[in-house]
């Protein structure tokens, strides 16, 4: 593999999630990528848009569909130093959800704030 030089200043990298859990593996794959990324000491943020807010819903129990519980893993994010966690306000409200329904603390953002968040990133990983 080509040798790459790591830059010294942490880069702002945003993980954008858009999928509900379980129906596709994208939610799980995104989480695995995020956890792997935490080892690289960059300035990581994660944003849950649209259907992805369902990833954060409490009381998930996918055992009978032979899948790993996504919501059981998500609360470890702060332990991996991933503390900048954002949720789309309109996605919650259009689905009849509030912040109290979620398994981990997240900052609720309006559309303009989301645009600002995305615009401030060095790279966006879209899932």
């Amino acid at each position: 593999m080509t040798e790459t030089q790591t830059t010294t200043a942490p880069k702002k990298i945003l993980f954008v999630n858009t999928r509900a859990p379980y129906g596709s593996s994208m939610a799980r794959d995104a989480l695995d990528a995020l956890l792997a990324a935490s080892a690289y000491e960059q300035d990581l943020s994660v944003l849950f848009l649209g259907e992805a807010v369902f990833q954060l819903l409490r009381n998930q129990n996918p055992k009978a569909i032979s899948m790993k519980n996504l919501a059981a893993t998500l609360p470890v994010l702060p332990m991996y130093d991933i503390k900048q966690i954002f949720v789309q306000k309109s996605a919650l409200s259009s689905r009849g959800l509030s912040i109290d329904d979620l398994v981990l603390p997240a900052k609720v953002l309006g559309e303009d704030e989301i645009a600002t968040l995305m615009g401030s990133q060095g790279a966006i990983l879209s899932f």
Partner: protein, 102 residues
Amino acid sequence: MSLLHTVNKSAFNKDTLLSCLAICQAKHSVLLIEDGVYGAMKSSPCREKIERLSAKGVSFFALAVDVKARGLSDMLINDVTLASDQDFVNLVVQHSATQSWY
């Protein structure tokens, strides 16, 4: 910093483009690729939003090869510009980051 959005789902059966447009601001660009080019049709459910955002400074593009593949060349909203593969690369380079909606 300005964003490039790519959208590859048709606006007629998915809300992907709608979700993208909700985040768009002036100086952002939206590039419709693959099935996303259907969203650029005059009959698109997103036509009004596209025209409104275009007036506010959002640039709209549709990847020419995908438009041609689908037979849509004469059916596009005026505010949407055909983009070549080179234009796609240039758009990525010119914007601070790319959000891919798929």
